[in-house]
């Protein structure tokens, strides 16, 4: 298990956003996290990635306790995330967005002035890697455009590309296809499928149908709790899930 979440609780004032959540994700799989609005999916992602500190419980990534680490420390261990509202660097070009996302940490000031050779070599290597990923996502023709000139769908692709550029062992995708047309949504998930042999994904989605096709394992959340888990087939027939989604 690459990620293990154990009995995590998180309250905002009187509201229990997470009420004893436990889940585990196996290596090189795609796990889905679904649930209605306000069920705590994004809160869980925020807690796992270190943007929120849980009140109780433990989170282990690759066997290491990451419960009390800061976001950038968690990222350095090889976990990257995207955001529900696409967060890219709008004042930078697409290529620069990709280069910022590199995990090589090539930004040293000493290096800039005293070891330029090494820095330039690394930049070239990063540019090459970025070019490949952009090609893979079919947005390499936009390389030199400012990121804010991209359409919503292209921005979603870019943010996926940035996550891949960081070359993490695990990626948390928070609604990667929200507001994207169905054709592109399928394409995005197909790209994620292709990356599966290299890394693990935990995908938060609102839309239950698309996850059914692509996930190995699905967790269903409601009111801060995991109410069901299993393979897509099992989830489809699960009465609680049908209740939440259809019965309300």
């Amino acid at each position: 298990m690459i990620l293990q979440v154990q009995d995590v609780e998180k309250s905002f004032g009187g509201i229990k956003a997470l009420d004893g959540v436990s889940l585990s994700v196996g290596e090189n799989t795609i796990a889905g996290l679904i649930g209605p609005n306000g069920s705590g999916k994004t809160t869980l992602i925020n807690v796992i990635s270190g943007f929120l500190r849980q009140d109780k419980g433990r989170i282990c990534f690759e066997g290491k306790d990451i419960s009390s680490l800061l976001p950038f420390e968690i990222a350095r261990l090889g976990m990257c995330r995207t955001f529900q509202l696409t967060r890219i660097f709008r004042g930078l070009t697409v290529l620069e967005n990709m280069l910022v996302s590199s995990n090589m940490q090539n930004e040293g000031l000493c290096q800039l002035f005293f070891n330029r050779k090494k820095m330039i070599m690394q930049e070239k290597a990063d540019e090459l890697a970025a070019g490949e990923i952009l090609e893979f996502l079919e947005i390499d023709h936009l390389k030199y455009e400012y990121a804010n000139a991209l359409s919503g769908g292209q921005q979603k692709l870019l943010s996926l590309g940035m996550a891949l550029m960081a070359d993490p062992g695990m990626v948390l995708l928070d609604e990667p296809v929200a507001g994207v047309n169905p054709t592109l949504a399928n394409k995005i998930f197909e790209k994620v499928m292709l990356e599966k042999e290299k890394r693990t994904f935990l995908v938060v989605e609102h839309n239950i149908d698309i996850l059914m096709d692509f996930c190995d394992m699905i967790y269903v959340m409601n009111k801060g709790k995991i109410v069901a888990s299993g393979t897509p087939g099992e989830i489809q027939d699960n009465e609680t899930v049908i209740d939440i989604y259809l019965g309300g």
């Binding site: 890219i88 090539n106 000031l109 960081a166």
Partner: protein, 296 residues
Amino acid sequence: MIFDYLLDTFIYIGIYAILAISLNLEAGYTRLMNFGKVAFFAIGAYTSTLLSIAGVPFIIGLIAGIILSALLGLLVALPTLRLRADYLAIVTLASGEILRLVFLNEQWLTEGPMGIRGIPQPMYTVFMDNYMIFYALLVYGLLLICYIFAEKIIDSPFGRTLKAIRDDEDAVQVFGKNTFDFKIKVFIIGSCMASISGTLFAHYLAFISPDMFFPSVTFSVWTMMVIGGTSNNFGVIMGAVMIQVFERGTRFLKDFVELPVEPYNLRIIAIGLLLILFILYKPEGIIKERKSKGRL
């Protein structure tokens, strides 16, 4: 006479341009709302003044000012750079004022409100007759160094990450970057540059007093940055030219046009108006941010 006056304006522009570039690194590229720029300007001025009066060479005083500014920068940055932008603005504004009050009240060191006179000027005996020309060269030499340094930083991976922090700090952390570390570094660099500017200012005037270091200096530099072109190092230099020429020009306006009020007093209103107009209709300034030069 006219030549001397133009040269004087030229030197002032150079001194303020260094300040504007230093603010641009912090506020323009990284969106650190530093409203205490004058503090580091004052540190540079007082450090090198006190040292050179004690007989220390100019260059040592300059470097000592840079080092002290870096230390003060770190001191201010450590507790405040984790704060939200608006808190940072207030804390830096206050630290500038605190420093001015220290200079005002520690009379044993700074002569208090009387100020310090007769600050030695570097290589004065060598260039006696053409001293202003020499000083202009000194100022513009240092401005050039600061400018190239700033441009190098902005086109580097470090600068790219600064711009990313400006756009979305949380999103940068996702890629394993300690944004706090980046912000501290750029704040210290900006502080050191401001100190260079302060040193040049003090030795040019050969006289400093605490009332030269009111927050209005900071605001003036902000105006230069916003009007000249936030996030463009050449733009902010243009901003320094414009504001300096404007401030000095209004002093002579009364000799040429008949106005019911003294035009020099109108300048603050006029600059305020200009600032509002720019923010509303041309927020990127006269020269807008350029794309990064690609590979270094």
